[in-house]
Amino acid sequence: MPPDPILQIRQVSKTFPSHKAVDQVSMTLERGELHALLGPSGCGKTTCLRMVAGFETPDSGEILLNGVDIAPLKPYQRNVSTVFQSYALFPHLTVFDNVAFGLRQRGEKAVRDKVMASLEMVQLAAKADRRPAQMSGGEKQRAALARSLVLAPDLLLLDEPLSALDPNLRQQVRHELKALQRRVGITFLMVTHDQEEALSLADRITLLNQGRVEQVGTPQEIYLAPANRFTANFLGEMNWLDDVGVRPESTRLSHQAPEPGVRVHPGQVTQSTFLGDCYHIQAEIGGGRQLMARVPRSQNGYHPGDRVHVWWQAADELHLPQ
């Protein structure tokens, strides 16, 4: 598929009186992808999103939507829509009127049909006459999605879309959100601090740290081939021995010495934590260095005090200088 960028952020910076939020950020969104802007709190990801939406103006740089610089435009002059973290449904309006708001604002015809079609898409048609206060968190989120999608935006922005939901609901909504994105074919840019959410949902991830881009890539690329230590540490857990890193799930334990050809360190188990589907075993390998290993429940036979061999395949090593 040839590259067909819908959004290009070029060398964008934004400084607030108290701090520099975004520092020379460049990123590209391909048409139709679900892109996650991932990073710890305060990394500038929300400021990036707000600049694309038009709630903040960049100090420098360009934001090209379909090749046109939208940075100087007001929020209501760009065909971009936002699903807010709080959903921001208008409390004085019914769900129907919330979804109709943008269409009426544009003076469109056949508002009723479009609104009902949009509500049906998110399975809320039966609750069109409800007020936001009478709905559950998941329903509010779907109403907010319908309100934005009914406008057929070039780009849909989602600010931490799952953070306000019950943890039990999150998993399910994750799948629904991805299925919805595939169905409507609209490019989604989602801000999240949750690495698992980004890995499971996104086609590609841009990882931000202290206002700068650390790495861009597919979830597999970012997780398996992190470009630097920040990326490696932010996505999942890492064991570090100087410049060599290995993930706990690639780290093995055995009572007997493993076959030759692998990296091996003799050590002693210091801690064993039950995590449901697996055990998290910590072993000391001398010099006070601790390594973590993730051991499937069925294979666990390690207890604090046990002498063990800690080993891994050379291919699982990441070589990243500090």
Partner: protein, 251 residues
């Protein structure tokens, strides 16, 4: 628990017993505080008194105009203070709540007199209305800004996001959220305006005597049961407004 109930009854009696006595004696046939029998003569007399009628009309007119102006200005002022957080401007506004009424009155009088040197005007209805706007403003701002602070600030952004410009976002989304607060601010402003004596008496002209001014003048000539009747009507009227505002807010 029983002690607490007794305490509550006593506290309310302390607050409202005088009003109760006033109401009871407004229906007393005798002009003295000795019960002689039920009568509406003081009410008849009050409603027939041309001075009281004119003063009531003035009070309603001044209260209405000052409330409309102070509510409109105060709502916009609260909105501005909410958008551009400025401790200096907010503090300057609340200063007007701290200023003793007599000081505000004297200051307004001095200000008007200075102004009248420049313009050919004199004290009258409009000076009273302006004075009332100035002391009602801070109350309106406090009530409205309290509502703004509990409102989700992203509501307005959502409106912009959906294609509304700043003005449309304000009146289609923000204003409906503020409406209960604005109504209750207006009722508060009207009550404060209707009630004011000190400032009004300083800045009023001959054509703009308000009900409290006329009542005060009457009281100084000697206690009159007519005042009891008028007071009872005022209490019932303003009480009704407060009930109405509660009703509107819980809707």
């Amino acid at each position: 628990m029983r002690l607490l109930s007794i305490y509550a009854v006593l506290a309310y009696a302390f607050l409202h017993l005088p009003l109760l006595v006033l109401t009871v004696f407004s229906f007393n046939h005798s002009r003295f505080t000795q019960w002689e029998g039920l009568s509406l003569r003081w009410y008849t007399q009050a409603f027939a008194d041309p001075a009281l009628r004119e003063a009531t009309l003035n009070s309603l007119l001044i209260g209405g105009a000052a409330t409309a102006l102070a509510t409109a200005l105060g709502t916009l002022c609260a909105y501005a203070l909410w958008k551009k957080k400025s401790p200096l401007f907010a503090g300057a506004l609340y200063l007007s709540l701290m200023t003793p009424e007599i000081v505000t009155g004297v200051a307004l009088l001095a200000f008007y007199q200075w102004l009248f040197h420049l313009l050919d005007l004199q004290l009258g209805m409009f000076t009273v209305i302006l004075a009332h706007v100035s002391f009602c403003l801070a109350y309106v701002v406090i009530v409205v800004i309290a509502r703004l602070r509990t409102m989700d600030a992203t509501l307005e952004e959502a409106a912009l996001d959906l294609g509304a410009n700043e003005l449309q976002a304000f009146y289609k989304v923000t204003l409906p959220q503020l409406l209960p607060a604005i109504i209750s601010a207006a009722l508060l402003a009207f009550t404060i305006s209707f009630d004011d004596f000190v400032i009004t008496s300083l800045v009023a002209g001959v054509d703009s005597e308000t009900l409290p001014m006329v009542m005060y003048a009457t009281a100084r000539r000697g206690v009159s049961p007519v005042l009891n009747a008028v007071s009872t009507v005022i209490v019932l009227g303003l009480g009704g407004l407060i009930l109405l505002s509660e009703r509107l807010q819980t809707k």
